[in-house]
């Protein structure tokens, strides 16, 4: 019982962590909390659903198309919404992304309706494989772990060795200095949003396989993923993953002990962490200079 709760918690936590990474990448680069992140993932998942269920195509067509769509969606939102806003305040940015959230949710509801659907996902939650002796992992869990490791490795390599990755880190440190050094900052923002949308879409598909698919389904996972990101520190990507895992385990054990209070664990945790240590567990504290 203990092991299965732990594995389950870790897997959900890794999923929160992945989604939190999507939020954190955007936050690091452009200091915007993207409240539309969940809905971007939701729309991408609906596109996958549409290709799989309505057109009945194979997953090998559906997933690459979805991935491409999610990248384009992220870039489009950055290009159409964030770029035209001149010197927006923090509140302005929040309103802007909330507006994008309402817009995407409305469009998805208009296109696919509000009723709940099952997302046809290749990895089942029921079939289990005993990879380690005595421990049963279901396919979904294996998929989450494998994908998290792959994505984290790719992200690490990208930020460490590739030119766009280094340019992105430079932009994170100082936008103006990066611009002077000849980095096309606008393009960096665009790449950031595309990347973040991609990671978010992958995580959202995993969430959809666990729950049902409707226009609101990403709201609570987004909140939890954000809680995870804050827990680990929004500016540290490994921290976000670890934060996600801590949140997943805490939530799973808490939910086992008091099932009816499970939904609010994440929110109480978020308030506590933010109050006690706003910069998160793994990020350096940030002091505002006058």
């Amino acid at each position: 019982m203990f092991e299965s709760l732990l594995i389950e918690g870790l897997a959900i936590g890794a999923c929160y962590g992945l989604f939190g990474v999507a939020v954190a990448i955007i936050y690091k680069t452009s200091e915007v909390v993207n409240f539309a992140q969940g809905e971007m993932g939701m729309v991408a998942t609906f596109v996958a659903y549409h290709i799989l269920s309505v057109h009945g195509m194979s997953p090998w067509v559906a997933f690459p198309v979805t991935i491409a769509f999610s990248v384009l969606l992220g870039m489009a939102i950055e290009f159409c919404l964030l770029r035209p806003a001149r010197n927006p305040t923090v509140l302005g940015m929040i309103i802007l992304t909330l507006g994008a959230e309402m817009l995407l949710m409305g469009l998805a509801g208009w296109k696919w309706g509000a009723e709940q659907k099952d997302f046809p996902f290749n990895l089942s939650l029921v079939t289990t494989h005993a990879i380690l002796p005595g421990l049963a992992f279901n396919e979904w869990t294996i998929g989450v772990f494998a994908l998290s490791i792959v994505i984290m490795t790719l992200l690490f390599l990208f930020f460490r060795y590739s030119k766009p990755g280094i340019a992105m880190r430079a932009t994170q440190q100082n936008v103006n200095a990066a611009r002077i050094m000849g980095i096309n900052v606008e393009r960096i923002f665009s790449i950031t949003w595309g990347m973040s949308s991609l990671i978010g879409a992958i995580a959202a598909m995993f969430f959809a396989a666990r729950s049902v698919l409707d226009p609101n389904f990403m709201m609570e996972p987004f909140m939890r993923a954000f809680a995870a990101a804050v827990l680990g520190g929004l500016t540290s990507i490994p921290g976000v993953i670890i934060g996600g895992m801590i949140l997943g385990i805490v939530e799973n054990f808490f939910g086992y002990a008091w099932p009816e209070w499970k939904p609010i664990v994440a929110f109480v945790l978020i308030i506590l962490v933010i109050t006690i240590r706003p910069s998160g567990l793994f990020a350096k504290h940030y002091v505002k200079k006058v």
Binding site: Y27, L81, L91, L98, A108, W110, W112, G113, I270, K288
Partner: protein
């Protein structure tokens, strides 16, 4: 141009504004005579939202803090008032004030972490608070659980006794709410002209500079949250009686977003803006966009678009799309909101034709 302090703190800048305000109030008080009763219901909802938007604007527009959890305070007001009347047999006004004070206390508590947080972190913390309140109310049986509760009869005297004075019907509720709203709006405008209001604005403009000049951040930030939550509590208490029935999911995240949109669309840091924004957004949400397919030209166009590319049933989601577009357009094109547009019109005509 202002020449002395008393000119700055006057409630009405000029006799003209005072005269127009009186005319407007008289108009509002005689309104039920010449409007059908459905519109009275809508006006009640609008006024409830005006109270809330004015309160939220004290926090967001004047003090510069962000709250995405005002639906939580709104819920505390609604449940507190109704339960205070059914279980404790308070008169309506006493229950309303008690519930609003409870909301204000919660506002104070949320204000404490706000001392260390800013921007997106504060938005998330308040958002978490709003959702927590929603879930807690949904779990406890005293709050009616997920089924929701029906508001008791609106009684200005002591319920279930000889001195009960029940008010029923939208029109009578309209007058009650109008009086409360007017008082609260004037109180807010007055508050912003006092030492407290100026302290709020100095925190908004630069909290470090404000602290250096002797503004006690701890006191004023928590006070701002408390005042704002008090307004939200009053609004919630009235809302319960306007709609008659509510459940925990009435007070969801979308409602909090809607409140913030009212303030931003109306204009940050302006009482008039909050009133305009609350009226516009409420009208759009509760009336115009509710049955968008019945609109003259736009409706047919949307229905044909729905047939071609979307689904006709899903057209009910159009209000969300419109709201999202309004939010985006306001930030991109007119960050000062409707109040900003009004200021620009006024400036243009002041020196016209030059």
């Amino acid at each position: 141009m202002k020449r002395d302090y008393y000119e700055d703190v006057r409630l009405f800048k000029s006799g003209t504004i005072l005269a127009w305000s009186v005319v407007f109030l008289v108009f509002l008080f005689t309104l039920p005579i010449y409007t059908p009763s459905y519109n009275i219901y809508l006006l009640n909802v609008i006024m409830v939202h005006v109270v809330l938007a004015v309160g939220l604007n004290i926090l967001v527009g004047y003090t510069g803090q962000i709250s995405l959890g005002h639906a939580g305070f709104f819920a505390i007001g609604a449940y507190g008032t109704s339960l205070g009347m059914t279980h404790l047999h308070f008169p309506f006004l006493a229950a309303l004030v008690a519930a609003a004070l409870i909301a204000a206390f919660f506002g104070f508590v949320i204000g404490l972490p706000a001392l260390r947080l800013e921007g997106p972190y504060l938005a998330i913390a308040t958002l978490g608070f709003g959702l927590t309140i929603m879930h807690i109310i949904g779990r406890w049986n005293i709050f009616g659980g997920r089924m929701g509760i029906t508001a008791p009869p609106l009684d200005l005297g002591i319920p279930k006794s000889s001195c009960s004075w029940v008010i029923a019907g939208d029109v009578k509720i309209y007058y009650l709410i109008l009086i409360i709203t007017t008082l609260l709006v004037i109180a807010a405008r007055n508050l912003m002209k006092t030492r407290v209001g100026r302290a709020f604005m100095s925190i908004r403009d630069d909290d470090i500079a404000a602290e250096v000049m002797g503004v006690n951040l701890t006191v004023y930030k928590t006070l701002s949250f408390a005042v704002s939550a008090f307004y939200a509590g009053v609004a919630g208490g009235m809302y319960g009686f306007v709609v008659g029935f509510f459940d925990p999911f009435t007070f969801n995240l979308i409602l909090s977003i809607l409140f913030l949109v009212m303030v931003v669309v109306g204009g940050l840091g302006s009482i008039l803006g909050a009133i305009l924004g609350a009226s516009l957004i409420t009208y759009l949400q509760y009336d115009l966009l509710k049955n968008v397919e019945n609109l003259p030209v736009l409706g047919e166009l949307l229905v044909s678009i729905s047939r071609r590319w979307f689904t006709v049933i899903g057209l009910a989601n159009f209000s969300g799309i419109a709201l999202g577009l309004i939010m985006i357009a306001i930030v991109i094109f007119e960050p000062l909101g409707m109040f900003g547009i009004w200021i620009r019109i006024k400036k243009y005509w002041k020196t016209w034709p030059f």
